[in-house]
């Protein structure tokens, strides 16, 4: 059975990706969450409402041991399963001016948003290489491309993933594995719920925040067979705020 694993799939953009992939593709959906089981179960219900099989799987992407042991166990219990699609979506932010930034706020964001990419991808790509096919989409951010003041840690982590996307894409292209990144701007989710939307929307040419499903549709295309010649690409989705 072929699976799509979405890290941080319980909420926000991750949840929308799970639902859109459930609706539009044949993949079983593996919904990873770290802390919010209730939200993960809600996403699972959305996935199942489309007649698609889903599972929730808990691990912290920042913890390599937990990633390896959990995915290893899952694979042993599902020997025929193959994760053909990986969406590295899990990320956290801890905003603040760099001059005041605590070391732990720097490390935590980098550990989840950058090292999490390594931890999960390193496990999953082994089988993709063996099977000579795979789709990896890394959720980055406009912050990782242009940099955002107040988000030096988040920008650094996402910028790291941008560069890793380009490098890894070249390494594995020969095996029909594509690696791309999606860089959303302001999208209505829990992560942006505390922002002053009325003020920030003035910066956006489209004059609105984006919806999670709009990002999910882009991911859906990138993981499809139709996107087979697109790799190493960073696709902005931000209502024109930056290109």
């Amino acid at each position: 059975m072929k699976y799509a694993l979405v890290t941080g799939g319980s909420r926000g953009i991750g949840s929308a990706i799970c639902e859109i992939l459930a609706k539009n593709t044949d993949y079983n959906i593996l919904i990873n969450y770290n802390s919010n089981k209730v939200a993960a179960e809600k996403t699972l219900k959305l996935v199942e409402s489309h007649g698609t099989k889903g599972e929730i799987i808990s691990f912290n992407v920042a913890d390599k041991e937990s990633v390896d042991s959990t995915l290893d166990n899952w694979q042993k219990n599902n020997p025929d399963a193959w994760i053909e699609v990986l969406v590295n979506n899990a990320g956290i932010n801890k905003d603040g001016l760099f001059m005041w930034m605590k070391e732990e706020d720097w490390s935590n964001v980098v550990n989840t948003s950058l090292n999490g990419f390594y931890n999960v991808t390193q496990f999953v790509i082994q089988k993709m290489l063996r099977k000579r096919y795979g789709r990896i989409v890394n959720m980055v951010s406009v912050s990782g491309v242009k940099g955002t003041p107040g988000q030096t840690n988040y920008s650094a982590a996402k910028g790291g993933v941008v560069a890793a996307t380009k490098a890894l894409a070249q390494e594995v292209a020969k095996r029909n594995i594509t690696v791309n990144a999606v860089a959303p701007g302001f999208i209505k989710t829990d992560m942006t719920s505390e922002l002053d939307e009325n003020e920030l929307v003035k910066l956006v040419p489209a004059n609105r925040f984006g919806e999670a499903w709009e990002v999910a549709e882009l991911v859906n295309f990138l993981v499809s067979k139709n996107a087979s010649y697109i790799t190493g690409e960073i696709v902005n989705i931000n209502g024109g705020i930056y290109s």
Partner: protein, 84 residues
Amino acid sequence: MEMNEIIEKVNEVLVDEFEVEIDTIKPDANLRETLDLDSLDYVDLVVAIESISGVKLGEEDFKGIETFQDFYDVLHSKVAEKQD
């Protein structure tokens, strides 16, 4: 596993996995050239060897391996290490 058993099993799995003729696998032949391995093909080699021996080879293990005999030797000592 004894050396002759290792050689037999390794050769068998290599013929199968890399679609080469058994005659081309000689102790002093070059492993990489004979199997036409590119850098990513090592993932297939590692998995194939793990399936027959239970030993998971890492990048370090391949340093210094040129010929099939080098490869058998490394594997032989790794298997022995594992049994200890």
